[in-house]
């Protein structure tokens, strides 16, 4: 028998898989192990997230950032009050070329457009 012919025969024999009556059971076992892996992964990620969150909160609290935020908030309130004192006592909407409803509609449309853009951006990512 020629070498090539024999090797072709050997390829063919190896390509014929034996029959395993428990093949469905084997597929179920693989599925179970995949499930186990995903559950473990979710638990590990969740635990790491929790630990990270706790550490983050502890760091924020210890750095005195809340006091700084309070200071910034007070300063911005004072600035807004100063700005309000300079502004006209009453903003006259009827003086504008369109009504108040149009202003609200525009704001609503702008919010919708922003939401749409964000959705598209997230899909692209």
């Amino acid at each position: 028998m020629a070498d090539l012919e024999f090797e072709t025969r050997l390829d063919r024999l190896f390509a014929e898989p034996p029959h395993f009556p428990d093949a469905p059971l084997f597929a179920l076992k693989v599925d179970e192990r995949l499930n186990r892996g995903w559950t473990l992964r979710r638990l590990v990620i969740g635990a790491l997230g929790l630990v990270g969150g706790v550490i983050g909160v502890a760091q924020i609290m210890s750095s005195g950032v809340l006091g700084k935020l309070q200071f910034v908030s007070n300063a911005s309130t004072k600035s807004l009050n100063d700005l309000a004192a300079l502004a006209p006592a009453k903003l006259s909407l009827p003086a504008l070329p369109f009504g108040g409803e149009a202003l609200w509609m525009s704001a609503l449309l702008a919010i919708l457009a922003l939401g749409f853009a964000l959705t598209r951006a997230i899909k692209e990512i």
Partner: protein
């Protein structure tokens, strides 16, 4: 992934299923497991793994396959791809356990049985492989069962290329004798005065 599968998945090509699995579809990967588990388990047993080890490693191979399925581009057959993963896992296990001495020349004796037809050929292959030394069996299975080149086998086994070629050559010679056409074997038996096994 369950025992049943949807008609859409059952009729899908392996490449499509692999693409779906790469996108996270476990039912698609389950269909691939159903299609190719017998081939993977069979290869591992032919390489010399016992039934329990072969099944464990086949499961490991499919789990690794699911993790790496995005790397499968469909250039070759999925079955060949997953079989190579399984074969390399088995080789790694052999090397870890130091169970295969690549310099070993000792064959594992096993009584041969004659047979006819394709089914008998397959039985003959499984039986004939048992007559080879462990190293010959692994080398032959990696080349003809997993589709690795001699160089890839040498790399996987961390053995010299020449050694691998010798094992393949000797293994082929032994298999050729064992898997000779039935008529020829009977003639030889009759000439030698040996009884012919049916």
């Amino acid at each position: 992934m369950t025992g049943s599968t949807s008609p859409a998945l059952a009729s899908a090509h392996d490449v499509e299923l692999a693409a779906l699995a790469a996108a996270g579809s476990r039912p698609a990967f389950g269909e691939l497991v159903r299609r190719h588990s017998s081939a993977v388990r069979g290869l591992l047993r032919r390489m010399g793994a016992d039934a329990a080890l072969a099944d464990d490693l086949a499961q490991d191979a499919f789990l690794a396959g699911f993790e790496q399925v995005a790397d499968f581009r469909g250039e070759g057959a999925f079955q060949g791809w997953i079989k190579r993963i399984a074969a390399r896992l088995y080789v790694r296990r052999l090397r870890k356990d130091a169970r295969v001495d690549l310099m070993s020349e000792t064959p594992e004796p096993h009584p041969p049985h004659a047979g006819e037809g394709a089914a008998a050929d397959r039985i003959d292959l499984d039986e004939a492989l048992k007559m080879l030394s462990a190293a010959e069996r692994v080398c032959i299975s990696l080349c003809y069962g997993a589709g690795l080149s001699h160089a890839e086998v040498a790399e996987a086994l961390n053995a010299p290329l020449g050694t691998v070629k010798s094992h393949v050559k000797r293994g082929l010679d032994k298999l050729k004798q064992r898997l000779a056409p039935v008529g020829r074997g009977e003639d030889e038996d009759q000439v030698a005065g040996r009884p012919v096994h049916g």
